[in-house]
Symmetry: C3
Subunit: 176 residues, 3 copies
């Protein structure tokens, strides 16, 4: 059972009912890896969602909006129009948000497939934790901002870890 959760090397083409026993053992390990993935994926997604709130916070405190309907409460006509402007802090948060999207989407997809490819728990946790840590560091490095190469290195750590998981997924998929 759960044959698609068994790592390729342990899986035979003509699997008998007995192989279900092995699958079960593997699956219990996969369970832990899967829910470890679930926890870290949820954490990085919540962190990414936080960026929306930070953007809204900066837009309101800096009074810097894009949509005319958002400035209606500041009065009509020219008096409200001056709030339709870009603010360096708002733009910085938005760049951080977009960078999150660009990097968390690959992690979501590749990480899920990696978790289902039957890696060892220790290795999987190492990957997930480096990724989550790299994105949290990246946010601090971007928003404070810290001098380079802090932001560059934190981005690179998550990038390399995602490629390492992608390699594992492709190996599993092609050995099938």
């Amino acid at each position: 059972m759960e044959e698609w959760l068994i790592p390729a090397e342990r899986r035979g083409r003509g699997s008998s009912v007995r192989s279900g026993e092995m699958a079960k053992l593997t699956r219990l390990i996969d369970n832990e890896v899967f829910w470890a993935y679930a926890a870290y994926a949820t954490i990085v997604l919540l962190k990414m969602m936080l960026m929306s709130s930070v953007t809204a916070y900066f837009r309101i405190t800096r009074k810097a909006f894009v949509n005319p309907e958002d400035t209606a409460s500041f009065g009509k006509g020219e008096s409200a129009k001056k709030f339709l402007r870009t603010d360096p802090d708002v733009e910085r948060v938005r760049r951080g948000h977009l960078n999150d999207l660009e990097n968390i989407v690959p992690f979501l997809g590749i990480g899920l497939l990696y978790a289902l490819s039957g890696p060892e728990l220790f290795t999987a946790l190492l990957h997930f934790r480096i990724f989550a840590g790299s994105r949290i560091l990246h946010t601090f490095a971007y928003l404070i901002p810290l001098p380079q190469p802090s932001r560059g290195l934190s981005w690179a750590a998550g990038y390399v870890v995602t490629i390492s998981m992608a390699y594992q997924v492709l190996k599993t998929a092609l050995y099938l």
Copy 2:
């Protein structure tokens, strides 16, 4: 079987073959939740994809392009260059599209994990429907545009529902 689909509270560490029976019952419920997720995830993704077509429609009708190669059919040189411009309607649709991305990506990831965490069908449907409704309302509020706080509230509804699902996922993942 399907043990990773069983909610943590019903799952024992040293599960015997008999626990497979319970798993089976749970899985049948999970089935419905999973495919409910599938339906709503597909609907919001199709809605998001529609934004690409709306952008293309406005670019062509407003004659507002970004890439020089896109204006080649309007003639060469200066006559085509005047179509390389931004248009408020195009920019509005693009902002709506980006907001979709920023909010639908967390729903995709967290919603899938939530559906696999074994929630009750009624609760799950409530979450999925509020989210899908909030994104559809958000699009209308952005494109018409409706006066605030329509757009703000429709965005917030989807945001809160995603956090509620994230809480459930983390609870399941950490009880494992």
Copy 3:
């Protein structure tokens, strides 16, 4: 077992142990489809990640940055400030990257659900390959750039294939 992997038309509500046999057969097919999805999803995500590196490459070679802290190595004050500018090549890669995000996110979600809806391997491979091909062509069409409608057509191919998979997912989800 794996009942949620069985296409709706073959699945009975009151499934007996015997239906597990059928499920197993179906699952073996699903296995192949699932890992085919895994391979193509990973390939398009790696391609998308490549856009980050291409952006970084152009930013460094064209000396065109957004963040003041990125130009610190070029000296202080006014001498570094002139590198805070937009460059047409950098902007072009960034647009390609955003277009990837807008199209690969729907593929990731809908493609996964489609792979779990029990399609035939041949049909599934056709969908996955057209999508992956369309995104690779789109990148070349955008970055070289090729004259239109190369970019438009390559984008449309991936769009249509995703809608075709979405239709299959909705059919499976609603027949449950």
